[in-house]
């Protein structure tokens, strides 16, 4: 044990060789619990470390570190001919990576590592990872292949499915009903507006100023709370409060059921009148109201018997309202769940949470890039592509690579194939990977669960580097492009959480990707996908269905509650009215009062004066002369004109005694016609 640790310290200090990190981790973490086994395990390491220490500056492979001879390939000779590349696996301290990995996997956020502790359904993907012949750190991976849980959960699942389906049907049914009701309400409103526009006297009543009377105490409008309050008050023997709460629960239950519109200005009598069309509800409400009013205003005592009697009357109605509320809530929650959709979580088996944490622990900042790729900041030295990107984005990335950046690719892309002549080919494989040539004496236990390999023709060998192979095919490799390079992973799964929990995959990935005090950005479909409008943002966030439901419910609420959203205010009053409005209003008053005689007396006198001005502007003339002048100009019988003018004059004298007659208005119209003929009032 001591020898093994000493050898490890020497190796870490001289950075000559790396040993399997999982073996180191086991040594560090399990030694205290199982010293004998730990010693046995590390004996082999000790030998290897001793050998390495003896070798001094010429490191030798340990027994469990295979030599490059184990993986002979043509690429080895090619690499030997090229310039000696830096071995990335000698720069990362394995113990640090292992500790970081252990800490990350034990955190509650690593759900994939602990997901199956409660005997949930198996996951084929996790099961595949658990079967790989490497060191397994997550117990959940092994349990992912367990047989399905007992059938008892099937019943509940079945019940859940049935209720879920019923709730969804009920939700859409209610939604459709709401839309129909809303349309009907709008139609009624439009109809009322049309009728109002046809009404020649649409009147709007100005409302008074803010209430100056007794301050309003806001009461609870929640049926369940009122119901509970009634029972609590009854338990506390405060039966007066209990019966008042029962009445409140009844009123608001009827409101929820759509039978009442509740207002602080409404009396119980108003509610009863609104319930006349519902005899059963009317009877129950009348009994309750009378009893509660007797307590509140009549000085009657609220007794337990009274409370019990009212309780029995109110209970069916309140229960109906509460049931409706629960159904709506179920539909709401169910639909909300079904509308939810999301990407793979960072902490799931396919997520990148472990990689992010490991690199962060190595002082490499990892972040998802939301901004567009228009300008890439200088501190960004690596970009990992996770997902599909448009061609324009690939062009920008390759341009950035040519300036010195490192691009990490995990899937095929036409731009990459065209520019770098590297592509992906189908190749299913589950098992150990071979480390590429030129990394002696390092031996890493790499594993993959992949369906692809790289088609990586070696054009200019000096610019390429092969890191791992799968059955002779390149699996992880990099290629120089301009000043920078592109690092290919045959499968994005290699960087996933499940993959990094196995063997030395984590150490391998961290060694390749760590850039202390630099930034690695992860780009994907979300990059540059910032919405240009609020609707696009809502769509991207998946909030469309939720907001639609809220909107429909808001409309429904407004339809049910009227103007409950705010206090009604008076419209701005017109301070001055046109003279025409006053004349029309005055005429309307005359019409209502049937003051035809008064109209003839006043308007007729004014018209007579206009006739005099027109027909005898120089000197005043009598009515008979005026009639003669009119008859001389127009074909009107002079006798009739004399009678007309005389009647008009008499109307001024017998205002109080004469009865109204349609002839008065006829005389007015005749005079008006004559006055207009002679030029009117101008």
């Amino acid at each position: 044990m001591k020898l093994g640790r000493a050898a490890w310290l020497i190796l870490a200090g001289t950075v000559c060789v790396s040993v399997p990190t999982h073996a180191r981790a086991r040594t560090a973490t399990e030694a205290a619990e199982a010293p004998e086994a730990s010693d046995a395990d590390t004996d082999t390491d000790t030998d290897a470390d001793a050998d390495t220490a003896d070798a001094g500056e010429a490191p030798a492979a340990s027994p469990n570190q295979s030599t490059p001879d184990d993986a002979e390939s043509t690429d080895t000779s090619e690499d030997d001919e090229a310039a000696e590349p830096v071995n990335p696996f000698l720069n990362s301290p394995p113990e640090s990576v292992e500790n970081s990995l252990q800490r990350t996997l034990k955190s509650p956020a690593a759900t994939f590592c602990n997901k199956y502790q409660n005997g949930e359904q198996p996951d084929p993907q996790l099961c595949e990872w658990s079967r790989l012949p490497s060191h397994q750190r997550c117990p959940a991976l092994a349990r992912a292949c367990a047989p399905p849980p007992p059938a008892k959960s099937n019943f509940w699942n079945h019940i859940g499915d049935v209720f879920g389906g019923a709730a969804e049907i009920a939700y859409w049914g209610i939604l459709a009903l709401m839309v129909v009701l809303l349309a009907m309400a709008v139609r009624r409103m439009l109809g009322a507006a049309v009728l109002a526009s046809d009404d020649p006297e649409p009147r709007e009543l100005p409302l008074p100023d803010a209430p100056k009377g007794a301050p309003r105490v806001p009461n609870d409008a929640d049926v369940a709370r009122l119901w509970a309050r009634a029972q609590q008050s009854a338990l506390a023997t405060h039966f007066d409060e209990a019966v008042a709460a029962l009445q409140g629960a009844l009123i608001h239950a009827l409101r929820v059921l759509g039978n009442l519109h509740v207002s602080p200005a409404y009396t119980n009598g108003d509610y009863l009148r609104a319930l006349r069309s519902e005899p059963s509800l009317h009877g129950a409400a009348r009994d309750v109201f009378r009893a509660v009013e007797g307590v509140q205003f009549g000085g009657s005592a609220a007794t337990p018997d009274l409370y019990q009697r009212l309780f029995e009357r109110v209970r069916p109605i309140v229960e109906r309202a509460l049931t409706l509320g629960v159904v709506l809530l179920l539909c709401w929650s169910q639909s909300g769940c079904s509308a939810a959709s999301g990407e793979e979580s960072e902490s799931s088996a396919r997520g990148l949470g472990v990689l992010t944490q490991l690199l962060t622990d190595q002082q490499t900042t990892v972040r998802r890039r939301i901004r567009a790729l228009k300008e890439i900041e200088p501190q960004v030295t690596e970009i990992l592509v996770a997902g599909e990107l448009p061609d324009e984005a690939w062009s920008k990335l390759l341009h950035w690579v040519s300036d010195g950046g490192t691009l990490i690719v995990t899937d095929s892309a036409p731009a990459i194939e065209k520019k770098l002549h590297a592509s992906y080919m189908p190749h299913a494989y589950r098992g150990r990977l071979e480390l590429g040539p030129g990394f002696d004496p390092v031996h890493l236990e790499l594993s993959a669960n992949t369906d692809h390999a790289l088609d990586f023709p070696t054009g200019s060998a000096g610019n390429d580097r092969l890191f791992a192979r799968v059955e002779g095919h390149p699996y992880i490799a990099s290629r120089q492009y301009g000043e920078g390079s592109v690092l290919f992973f045959a499968d994005g799964e290699f960087l996933s959480n499940a993959s990094l929990s196995i063997g030395d995959n984590a150490f391998f990935a961290v060694s390749l990707l760590t850039r202390p005090r630099q930034v690695l950005e992860i780009v994907g479909p979300w990059t540059g996908g910032g919405a240009t409008s609020i609707f696009g943002a809502l769509r991207s966030a998946g909030l469309g269905p939720l907001l639609l439901q809220l909107l429909v419910l808001t409309f429904f609420y407004a339809w049910c509650r009227g103007t409950a959203f705010g206090t009604r205010r008076d419209p701005v009053l017109v301070q001055r009215r046109a003279f025409r409005d006053h004349v029309l209003a005055l005429g309307d008053c005359y019409r209502k009062a049937r003051a035809t005689r008064f109209v003839l007396a006043t308007y007729g006198a004014w018209l007579t004066e206009r006739l005099r001005e027109r027909l005898s502007p120089q000197q005043p003339i009598g009515l008979i002369d005026l009639a003669g002048r009119i008859a001389a100009r127009y074909p009107e019988p002079e006798t009739a004109l004399v009678l007309l003018l005389t009647e008009t004059r008499e109307a001024q004298d017998d205002l109080e005694t004469a009865r109204p007659s349609p002839a008065d208005l006829q005389n007015c119209q005749t005079l008006e016609t004559l006055a207009m003929r002679v030029g009117g009032s101008k």
């Binding site: 006297e201 009147r203 009543l205 100005p206 409302l207 008074p208 100023d209 209430p211 100056k212 009377g213 007794a214 309003r216 009461n219 409008a221 008042a244 009445q247 409140g248 009844l250 009123i251 608001h252 509740v262 207002s263 602080p264 200005a265 409404y266 009396t267 119980n268 009598g269 108003d270 009013e293 007797g294 509140q296 205003f297 009549g298 000085g299 008076d570 409005d581 006053h582 209003a585 005055l586 309307d588 008053c589 209502k592 009062a593 049937r594 003051a595 005689r597 008064f598 205002l655 109080e656 005694t657 004469a658 009865r659 109204p660």
Partner: protein, 319 residues
């Protein structure tokens, strides 16, 4: 008689009158409540809606004496109150009571008479006594004046001043009956109903019983919240933007009395907010003087009262 018996008797009176006055149950109820509340009633409605029939039926069912005065422009105060005449047979002056000395008086088209004649009646209504030649003579108990006026003809009329309108406890507006009620009226005529003969109506009550009902009002309980509610409503009429003169304290008292009377009608010994609210229009509508602009806009006193009731918070509401 206890409260339940009084209430039942009131309901029987209403039902009996409803046999001849079809479709005007609300008016009948209001008139009876006004009678119990020791007030007078002004009824406004177009001719032919049964106003006179209502009063005649009321007199018969209540067993009260009844007189009718048709107000005309040449009606004199003495034609109402009575006058002192010299009797040649007795050789002395004696007072001949006018029609006001009755228990139930119908003042038909009260706005047709000049102001001095109206004043004679209104004084009798308020003081419940008549003073002539320095002698004050009390009017009988109960004393109820039911005055009518036609809302559509204003020529040759003398509108009642607001101060005098305040003497009326209730102002009722008689509407046309519903289609079914009108059909029932015709059916009654077909089967031989004669509005001039009300012999088939039963006398349900008596003068003594009516007085007992009026006295029973003092036993009707009124809580502080109800008084606050009444005060709130009346005060709001004074601050309404369309009202230039709001209701007086006499209106508050009237509303309180009417609420008590309605509680008795309903068989309760306590007043609830609905008693106040349901009679607010009848008590207040003739006591509000509207702004000229509001009148020109066609706003009525009922509109203002509606707005006031919309804003007044009902005591102990569950909302």
């Amino acid at each position: 008689m206890n409260r339940e018996e009084l209430s039942a008797e009131l309901q029987r009176i209403g039902s009996e009158i409803g046999r001849v006055l079809v479709g005007q149950d609300s008016i009948v109820e209001h008139v009876l409540v006004g009678l119990i509340g020791r007030g007078h009633v002004l009824i406004e409605g177009v001719p032919g809606l049964g106003k006179t029939l209502l009063v005649r039926a009321l007199a018969r069912v209540l067993g009260l004496s009844f007189r009718r005065i048709q107000f005309t422009p040449d009606l004199m105060p003495s034609d109402i109150t009575g006058s002192t005449l010299y009797s040649q047979k007795l050789g002395e002056f004696s007072f001949v009571p006018g029609p006001v000395f009755t228990e139930l008086l119908l003042a038909d088209e009260v706005n047709r008479a000049p102001a001095k004649t109206q004043s004679a009646l209104l004084e009798a209504m308020q003081e419940r006594s008549v003073t002539t030649d320095g002698i004050t003579r009390p009017l009988p108990e109960p004393f109820l004046v039911i005055a009518t006026q036609n809302p559509i003809e204003s020529q040759g009329t003398y509108p009642l001043p607001e101060a005098q309108l305040d003497r009326f406890l209730l102002k009722l507006e008689v509407k046309h009956p519903s289609e079914a009620a009108e059909a029932q009226i015709l059916h009654n005529y077909v089967t031989g109903f004669d509005p001039g003969e009300l012999l088939h109506l039963s006398q349900i009550s008596s003068q003594e019983s009516v007085v007992n009902m009026q006295r029973a009002l003092s036993d009707i309980r009124v809580t502080t919240e109800i008084i606050t509610y009444i005060t709130d409503i009346v005060r709001r009429t004074r601050s309404h933007p369309s009202v230039s003169l709001g209701a007086s304290p006499r209106a508050s008292i009237g509303l309180l009395n009417v609420s008590r009377a309605h509680a008795l009608w309903e068989g309760r010994d306590f007043v609830v907010p609905d008693d106040v609210k349901s009679y607010a229009h009848a008590v207040l509508r003739h006591r509000l003087l509207l702004e000229p602009d509001a009148e020109l806009e066609g706003i009525t006193a009922d509109n203002c009262i509606d707005a006031v009731l919309r804003d007044a918070v009902v005591p102990k509401t569950a909302a």
